[in-house]
Symmetry: C2
Subunit: 400 residues, 2 copies
């Protein structure tokens, strides 16, 4: 594999929240040994967002250096029915659906990570023939207390929400994946720390060299919170078309720009930090910074022509209508249009809001609202305009 000591230093810092054993990982990356990096994929969630991209760029770097990247498709558990039907958050997938979702995932994955040095593995390769003996041996290596220390389980205990024993086995299977492929390095968001460390512990326990672990910051979405498929409008998805993606970046809250520049782009780190410094000292206007950012991200995830097109479309849509390009993001308490207009400061009262709707002066995502009982999609973000000048990106709460 290629040696790239300067590259390794940036690799270990950019977007990184924590490296469990930095000197060891650094030594490994500089040793010339060809390493194996693990990337799990849950086929029930085939779509990638910009937060995942932070992670995938680390894998891309590994692959470019000549290491091996193993993508593990979690097909075994995804095809498993839940006889208790308690867990509606995990749909059961057919073999075809798993294949289709894996294709969707890999198409997006390979926009970031090249095909060379990537191997695709399936959990069923080792779990189809897993015996009860192996399962019990695995389950003997971890305690109920370790599992229940996880925040997710602690909360369920506290709220007396049932924790099927199965849910205590899934993290063990994910950990065993590291053993099955003899993983050397695993990356993940900070929310994956517990799972990734389990894999490391298990390898150590069975006498394998434990994988090095490396955690990246979670990239917040347009609402400032973790991107998630449950609120697609506040995340930036690889499936977003260039214009949508551009518009979404333009409505990222100002305070998130530094982390977006550093974690979510491939700008040279020095350049990214120059922009952040300029933002801070006022020499770069937030609107212009966001423009830069949006073009950069769309260019990286689509291409530069698409970025140019999206930028000019955006300019046309807003500048020519004399509305600010960097939309305010407003969180409101209700999704009902009358409440939204008042809360977002687009109307002074519900009476005025009603009048504006009657006059066909209110648009949501470009569509004129004609019914005062209209509601925004809950838990999403929408651009709400009044006339040609007043505009905001509004995020309204999930339905109760």
């Amino acid at each position: 594999v290629s040696k790239d000591i300067t590259g390794v230093a940036e690799f270990l810092e950019r977007g990184v929240s924590e490296v469990i054993e930095r000197p060891a990982l650094e030594a490994l990356l500089n040793s010339g040994e060809r390493l194996r990096a693990k990337q799990g994929f849950d086929p029930t969630r085939p779509n990638l967002h910009l937060g995942h991209v932070v992670n995938l760029r680390k894998l891309r770097q590994m692959a470019l250096w000549g290491h091996e990247v193993v993508v593990i498709i979690g097909d075994y558990t995804a095809q498993m029915g839940d006889p208790s039907e308690r867990d509606e958050s995990r749909p059961v997938l057919s073999r075809d659906e798993v294949a289709r979702n894996a294709e969707t995932y890999l198409e997006q994955f390979h926009r970031i990570v090249p095909r060379a040095n990537v191997r695709i593995a399936r959990q069923s390769e080792w779990y189809e023939s897993f015996t009860l003996r192996q399962t019990i041996e695995l389950a003997s290596r971890f305690t109920a207390q370790q599992m229940l220390a996880r925040e997710e389980f602690r909360n369920r205990m506290k709220n007396a929400a049932p924790i099927p024993i199965k849910d205590m086995l899934y993290p063990l299977l994910q950990a065993y994946d590291s053993v099955a492929i003899r993983s050397d390095v695993e990356f993940g968001g900070t929310d994956q720390k517990f799972n990734i460390l389990l894999g490391r512990d298990l390898q150590d326990d069975v006498g394998q060299r434990p994988q090095q672990v490396y955690l990246v910051h979670l990239l917040p979405g347009l609402d400032g919170e973790k991107m998630s498929k449950t609120k697609p409008q506040t995340g930036i998805w690889l499936t977003d078309d260039p214009r949508t993606m551009f518009g979404k970046v333009m409505s990222v809250p100002d305070e998130l720009m530094p982390v977006y520049f550093e974690s979510a782009t491939e700008l040279a780190l020095s350049e990214a930090r120059r922009h952040v410094a300029a933002l801070r000292d006022g020499s770069l206007h937030p609107r212009d910074a966001k423009h830069l950012l949006a073009r950069q991200i769309v260019a990286e995830l689509h291409d530069s022509a698409a970025a140019e097109d999206a930028a000019s479309a955006f300019r046309k849509q807003f500048v020519e209508r004399e509305v600010p390009e960097d939309l305010r993001s407003v969180r409101v308490e209700s999704c009902r249009i009358l409440d939204v207009l008042v809360e977002a400061g687009l109307a002074r009262s519900r009476t005025e809001a009603r009048r504006l709707i009657d006059q066909r002066g209110v648009r949501v995502d470009g569509v004129t609202v004609t019914d005062e009982s209209f509601s925004l999609n809950s838990n999403g973000a929408a651009v709400v305009q009044v006339g040609s000048r007043k505009v905001a990106r509004v995020v309204c709460p999930p339905s109760a």
Copy 2:
């Protein structure tokens, strides 16, 4: 199968602590349907005590009526190593040891339950080919909270003692045994209630008719506590020779005689109760009652000749030496002989105790003590005699 309605009534009451659904079990037993009764056996514990016999007599009755009794040998988990070595209470058995222990168990089992209508099954028949999918499905049917509600787990949680996740799987496997053999009835001591009900719930969950459940009182040992292999001297074991067994029954605390008469013998219930009433109104001396009981139990578990022999040997040993036949049982705080003699009231002081030993006047289980640093086996019971008249059965505490 034979109908025996009067028999069923006694069957459901004698020694019984709880019948989960009495009318249903009664109807089933009177229906003429041939039922299947489940009896699990842990090959790490091949020896039976008088407490188990209470249970086995219920199975014997079932077999005599013509129902099927299935003994399940827990060979699969018994042969499973614990890689974490956390659980030293569960030795790993080889295939040969399992076979040998099963033989030991069945030899004792069949002293109570006839061979006709008994089938032997092994857990490995269904667990050798058990898939991870089946395990996860099983583990999805129960929650961590259900398991942690067990007293044993609650205590470990409270004391921060580790609970390997494996330990939460074992009860599920035991429950699945009921499904595997399609059990109709399961008996057990009150301490098995949780496990037996899990099997019932699981059957219901997978669409089988849930087994009827029937709990018998635990028979206390010579120290008034649950009989257990960790304190063999306080339990009455099927492997005890007739004279030992007779002596042990003679030292059962007086207050346990009613439960022994009713649960631990096959005397007609009316006769057993007559003895108990006579004890209560004083017309039967406790010593004579215990004699009756000891002869009865030895006759049932060995034979009447052995009972006669044991009775006369006992008489000879004690009566001819003019010591009381119904030994006092004394619990002491220390196992050291000097302390034992003082605490049991056999010597007035440690000085006198020393002198008695020097004079070769102290015997433990018939053997003269010559060393004043001698200690009794911890957690056991021993007959301690001073001269020919002072005697007590002494139980000393487990070693710290």
